[in-house]
Amino acid sequence: MEGLRVRSYIRAGLVGGIVAIYLMLEGLVERFGELNLIGDQVTLGRVLLALPPAVAAFVVMRPRTEAGRLVQPERRAGTVGGALTGLVTGGVMAVALLWADWFGIDRVRAVFVAASPALVEFLTFGRTIVTGALILLSVGVISGALGGVARTTDPGLRRPLTAGLSALIVFGLLQRVIPIAMVEIGLTPDWLYSPITKGLTWEGAAVVFVVAVAASIFWERRGRALRAELRAASDERPSVKFSVFLVLLAIAAVLPLLLGAVVSEVLGQVMIFMLLGLGLNIVVGFAGLLDLGYVAFFAFGAYTCALLTGATLNTTTGAAAPALSFHLSFYIAVWIVALLAAGLGVLIGAPVLRLRGDYLAIVTLGLGEIVSILTTSNWLQPIIGGAQGMRGVTKAQIGILNFQDNPQHFYYLGLAFVLLALFVSWRLSASRIGRAWNAMREDEQVADAMGINTTRFKLLAFAMGGAIGSVGGALFAVNLGSLTPASFVIFVSITALAVVILGGLGSLPGVIVGALVLIGLPGLLREFEEYRLLIYGGTLVAIMVLRPQGLVPNVRRMRELKEDERSQDAWAQAQAGADDGVAAEEPA
């Protein structure tokens, strides 16, 4: 048969196999084996087994350029090629299983802790090893073939099906949220989510799938026009945009009432990291200064808030008053904290401003590490408690609202500060200051030459970012009521950075989405907790390599990135003559 490229299938299949083995040894497959998505047949672990061959086949069957034109693989070639790719992936898994059995799973386990008898049982579906190997092979072939078919299917059919499958996975993953919300608004969730397996029931899954497919088809036919209409309307009358915002705000306001205490607690964490993300976004996204020591402001805010509101030290002999303590109301203290943090931002910023981008990143990393070492040190123990930390931070009560013991109440406190920070960021980005930051980020020397006082604007960015981050820290202190140095480590900086990067540098909706995805999802799924940092690391790499503008890109930023691509591509540059008229209209 023509059109088969056996060598590239084998290569893709091997990569898929290595990924599958990675997932197994990392413990993901077995860990998620218990997480039922649909019935008790479709678990996330099984989905993880089927994904590598399917994705490998999907990728390897992509259209190729041959002699200058794009060649779409035929249906038959796609199916056979996908199946071959899947066969290799399944083969790798099967061989690994057979080898582990021959070598002795306990001996493998002495090295790889996740290679447990339970994993073997999961992979063989509780049968003998040989049957298990055959099952893995057929899983590989079938999902590989499906991946190949999916690539060669007409997009008009593929998009709705993909939407349906994604909806199934999302609904399955949100199994601890949606049923609670349904009960709260008076629906019985039992037809959708089985109370026994916790996952979707098959009937529920069918409904979700059909609805998602229908929605996707509707969107393909009518949605684009609708969106264009909406956009045109909002360009004419800003009130449309504002009402969309009000609707979103109303949803945000009722969320904790719908979702109960457990989910609200997660949402409270999301709020704290939204604040951190918004603050870091000013420094990194707006001004283009990569700050890797953002945890310094977080820790500063938390500890200063604790000291200002009269928290006590934890010591081995009980509580003790710190060497420096005030008894202010939280609502006064938080502004003082923000002011002091802004001052700290200037103080940190001033000596390091002359440094080039990557050096600045490393210096701030060092400063952040110094702060987290100081929080554990015996030296500062009399003031901030050292390794034992502090307790008794104010509950910031107003009337019956208790922001420490009631996660639903805390959510609203967080929301209020997030809205404030959003407003500040939004006004800043649209102002003269925001434009100065933009100019500085794109080319510092040119900005300087245009008369922008870069020193002042850089310091301003550090001060604003520091103030917002410290408020996040203050809220964190109020939420927990006690502080230990374990909360103030470099991973806070990296998490905040991941939140900003995932959403898109300089994009305010991006920060919200980033925090919801990176903090909210792992918080809701206890199974993910262990892999949180692994996922953050992978996200940073994947976003930077595949989609540097982020999930919800800042419009202006995206144009800049696209322009970069255009100017790098000599061929496109030759074509650009035709586009020049358009480019000239774009705001600089």
Binding site: P351, Y359, A361, D448, N453, I494, L533, L534, Y536, L540
Partner: protein, 366 residues
């Protein structure tokens, strides 16, 4: 700068307060404060009452320890410096490459220790262990370059740095998932415990071995870079990548070679480090990684001699600094602040002399 008088007549009059060169004022104040802090601290420590004072022997031990640790730091620092020299990029994940080497060799050294091979034939066993550590580090370094860095070579400078941070976190947690989060004991060959008399001093055998093998590796590297053809093409690529490629040098190959050499040195450092501290865990790369980066910057990043000088200087600072400076102020448990010291040195070097001790000041701007 906005502080310079500008030509147009209608400039806004700046107040005297605004015209002050703030940066200079802050830096001067900072340096005066630092010098005062160092002098007073050292004076106070050295004049402590006899009972609390460190003896001459303990100062000598601090120096030797500092040199031995400095040697390991210098080996890792070479990896940063090489990559920076070629690509002008900070390979933040280099500390994890070091960790990978340590972990891979752990399983061999552990098996050898239990079967007795490590002590019966310590030289072949150590060579195998070294080889394993080096290959693992090289594989990971090369994969990292291929997957995470090569697609971004033309991207803005901060993009690969962010990727590198992500890769570092990813590798750490991958190894946590593979091998668990507990620390594992890394056995040391019996021969290397105890002391050897050298110049009338009893010096830990491990420290001697660390010092000698690092020195050999560093000399080997500088010979490689200055004498071989590959070394010549590395220097050419570091000079100007585009022109080097016009001269027929395969830039991709040179970059891969650079990462591989950095990985090899990290592998050697990993074995030496693990023999010294006798344990491995998935976080072990983070702090030594940053210390090594500091050393590279301290000596002048991009220069091989600078990395060596920076490593030894930092090792001495780490072992002497807390004792010499902080004890005098009565800071409890000063060695807790050892790493804070590293970072402080890093910040100060970058602020006052961004080009490093041997550097040209090139890092200052753009």
């Amino acid at each position: 700068m906005a502080t310079e008088p500008s030509a147009p007549a209608k400039t806004v009059q700046m107040s005297r307060f605004e015209r002050l060169p703030w940066r200079k004022v802050i830096l001067t104040a900072l340096s005066v404060a630092i010098v005062a802090f160092v002098v007073v601290g050292a004076w106070k420590t050295l004049t402590l009452p006899a009972g609390e004072r460190f003896s001459a022997a303990s100062w000598r031990d601090f120096v030797i320890l500092g040199l031995a640790q400095g040697a390991i730091i210098a080996l890792i620092a070479l990896g940063y410096t090489l990559v920076y020299g070629i690509l002008r990029m900070i390979n933040f994940a280099h500390g994890e490459i070091f960790m990978v080497g340590a972990f891979a060799s752990f399983f061999f050294v552990d098996a050898y220790a239990r079967s007795g091979f490590l002590d019966r034939h310590h030289i072949p066993a150590t060579i195998i262990v070294l080889f394993v550590a080096m290959s693992a580090s090289v594989i990971v370094a090369v994969l990292l370059e291929r997957i995470a860095y090569r697609p971004l070579r033309e991207a803005p400078r901060l993009v690969p740095l962010i990727t590198a941070i992500g890769a570092s976190l990813f590798l750490q947690n991958t190894f946590r998932g593979f091998f668990g989060s507990a620390s594992r004991g890394y056995p040391r060959p019996q021969v290397l415990t105890g002391t050897w008399p050298i110049f009338g001093l009893k010096i830990d055998r491990m420290e001697v071995v660390v010092f000698v093998s690092s020195a050999v590796a560093m000399i080997g590297l500088s010979l490689f870079v200055s004498r071989t053809l590959t070394g010549k093409s590395m220097r050419a690529v570091s000079e100007d990548r585009d022109i080097a490629s016009l001269m027929g040098i395969d830039v991709d190959r040179v970059v891969v070679t650079t990462f591989a050499i950095g990985g090899m040195l990290a592998g050697i450092a990993a074995v030496l480090f693990s023999f010294t501290f006798e344990q491995v865990n998935f976080l072990m790369g983070a702090r030594p990684g940053i210390a090594a980066f500091t050393a590279a910057v301290l000596g002048g990043i991009g220069s091989i001699g600078g990395a060596a000088l920076g490593g030894f200087t930092l090792g001495l600072l780490q072992s002497l600094g807390p004792a010499l400076l902080l004890t005098g102020y009565g800071v409890p448990s000063p060695f807790q602040l050892k790493d804070a010291f590293t970072f402080l040195v890093l910040v100060l070097v970058l602020v006052f002399r961004p080009g490093g001790l041997l550097g040209t000041g090139e890092a200052e701007k753009v």
